[in-house]
């Protein structure tokens, strides 16, 4: 287990007990998980570069003394992202359910970037326990889009609804309507190959979706 206060130079704060607090915290995670966090934030910087640099992150925990991936030091709960251009994405404030489309798209963009590096990403559509943060962990790797995964399916359904107006029920069941919408999304984003079996194809899909989300553009 290693201790860190910043991910690749970007400070990570804790707001659950004191919103706005900028005291640096001594977070812990395994070296392997921290290395993935570095790749993740570099993805995030690159894909959201139009917003400027990432000023800070806010987390609800990495290693946490409880059963599961948090207890193993291989999980992150993401509460908030702030860019130097003033933009924010706040899972903490339930931005997945915002009445503003651009805010939901930005949340989905951050969500998509998490999925590039972490297989189990649990967001506000997944269940009520994740309405106020995005959870990402080392379970189930390598990354790919799994139709039997409730998390992956709800993400795809929410993505298609918010970027293409697909009108899907976000129920986590990969049926014909979800498949058709996903095929359309892949085509419009210029993705070829099988994101269900090939990590690089799924990562390309997620990058393309994230770019659209940060730009608030439909596809």
């Amino acid at each position: 287990m290693i201790t860190f206060s910043r991910i690749d130079g970007t400070p990570v704060y804790y707001w659950r007990s004191d919103r706005g607090n900028t005291t640096l915290r001594n977070w812990q995670a395994t070296q392997g998980f921290y290395d993935s966090l570095v790749l993740w934030i570099r993805d995030l910087r690159s894909l959201s570069s139009a917003y400027g640099s990432i000023t800070y992150l806010v987390s609800a925990g990495f290693y946490v003394n409880k059963p599961g991936q948090h207890g193993a030091g291989t999980a992150m709960d993401l509460d908030y992202v702030r860019w130097s251009g003033g933009q924010i994405s706040s899972p903490l404030d339930r931005h997945h359910a915002s009445t503003t489309l651009a805010t939901r798209r930005r949340y989905l963009a951050v969500d998509a970037v998490c999925r590039r590096r972490f297989r189990y990403v649990l967001d506000g559509w997944y269940n009520a326990d994740h309405a106020d943060h995005i959870h990402a962990d080392f379970g189930g790797l390598p990354v790919r889009c799994v139709k039997s995964s409730e998390s992956d399916t709800k993400f795809v359904q929410a993505l298609c609804n918010n970027f293409m107006g697909s009108g899907l029920v976000v129920d986590g069941i990969w049926g014909t309507n979800t498949q058709n919408a996903f095929n359309t999304a892949k085509s419009r984003l210029g993705i070829t190959g099988d994101p269900h079996t090939t990590t690089s194809v799924w990562q390309s899909f997620l990058s393309a979706a994230a770019r659209k989300g940060f730009a608030n553009q439909p596809f």
Binding site: S17, N26, W27, A60, N65, Q69, D129, G139, E150
Partner: protein
């Protein structure tokens, strides 16, 4: 007393020692990792931790004994009923909630597994285990419980505990049971007279609680800060502060009148 299954780790827990154990050789060049729960065996606090991929019994006198019968176990908690140890967790792989028991802490046998797949027990006492049916991504979905009866461990109903909660500590009190569940902001604490109907006590914000004890009519907790992992202790609904243990200590639980911590690979206990 040392035997063929026992070796004592050095002060830094990095001493290299090896001994013949069962069909293989155990090597203590790697510090124990991830202690789970705490129990009392022959009057001595003990925990289970992984060493080189195998479960080992650690005691607070520094001894380490490699176990048998836990090769397929993903363990999460440990307790005792006064005569036997009981370990809770799941069968490895697609998880199936299971319980194991042992009279000596070294030789274990599976005592109960739930039907179906994707479930795990996460907290146990000598007579009650709490866990969840979990989703594909291991998020808790439906609360499950098992009670020890004269004929063995049997599933039992639970009311008043939200299905999405992950039990992280469970203790027997004079009035029944008390349970902790860690969420994204801290710990929710519930109490029950019968282990079936639960009611909520004040929450413990910012802390992951792993040990509970009823002392003089109040519930004392032991855990680690969520942001920073600082070892902390306090009273549910009352004051809290640093625990008198090293800064790296991770709370394991409570056994008898002792709170247990894992620090630098060693089991430490403090008076509650």
């Amino acid at each position: 007393m040392l035997d063929r299954r026992t070796f004592v780790l050095g002060a830094a827990v990095t001493a290299v020692a090896a001994t013949s154990v069962g069909t293989g050789t155990a090597n203590a060049s790697t510090p124990p990792s991830g202690g789970i729960g705490v129990a009392t065996l022959d009057g001595v606090p003990v925990t289970l931790a992984r060493i080189d991929g195998r479960w080992a019994l650690l005691s607070d006198n520094g001894s380490v004994r490699i176990t048998a019968g836990l090769d397929n176990a993903d363990l999460v908690d440990l307790s005792d009923d006064g005569t036997r140890l009981v370990a809770a967790g799941s069968l490895a792989g697609d998880p199936v909630a299971a319980l194991w028991t042992s009279a000596d802490g070294v030789t274990w046998r599976e005592a109960r597994r739930l039907h179906g797949t994707r479930s795990e027990f996460t907290a146990v006492t000598g007579t009650l285990a709490l866990g969840s049916v979990v989703r594909h991504e291991r998020a808790p979905e439906v609360r499950v419980a098992a009670r020890r009866t004269p004929s063995g461990w049997t599933t039992a109903p639970v009311r008043g505990l939200a299905d999405g909660l992950l039990a992280s500590a469970l203790a027997t009190t004079a009035g029944g049971f008390v349970c902790a569940s860690v969420d994204s902001a801290g710990t929710r604490v519930h109490t029950s007279a019968d282990g079936v109907a639960w009611s909520e006590l004040p929450r413990v914000d910012g802390v992951a609680v792993r040990g509970l004890a009823s002392v003089s009519g109040v519930v004392r907790w032991f855990g680690n800060e969520i942001a920073g992992s600082t070892p902390l202790t306090g009273v549910v609904g009352g004051a809290s502060g640093p625990a008198a243990v090293p800064a790296d200590a991770k709370a394991l639980g409570v056994t008898g009148a002792r709170a247990a911590w894992l620090s630098a690979g060693r089991l430490l206990t403090t008076a509650i």
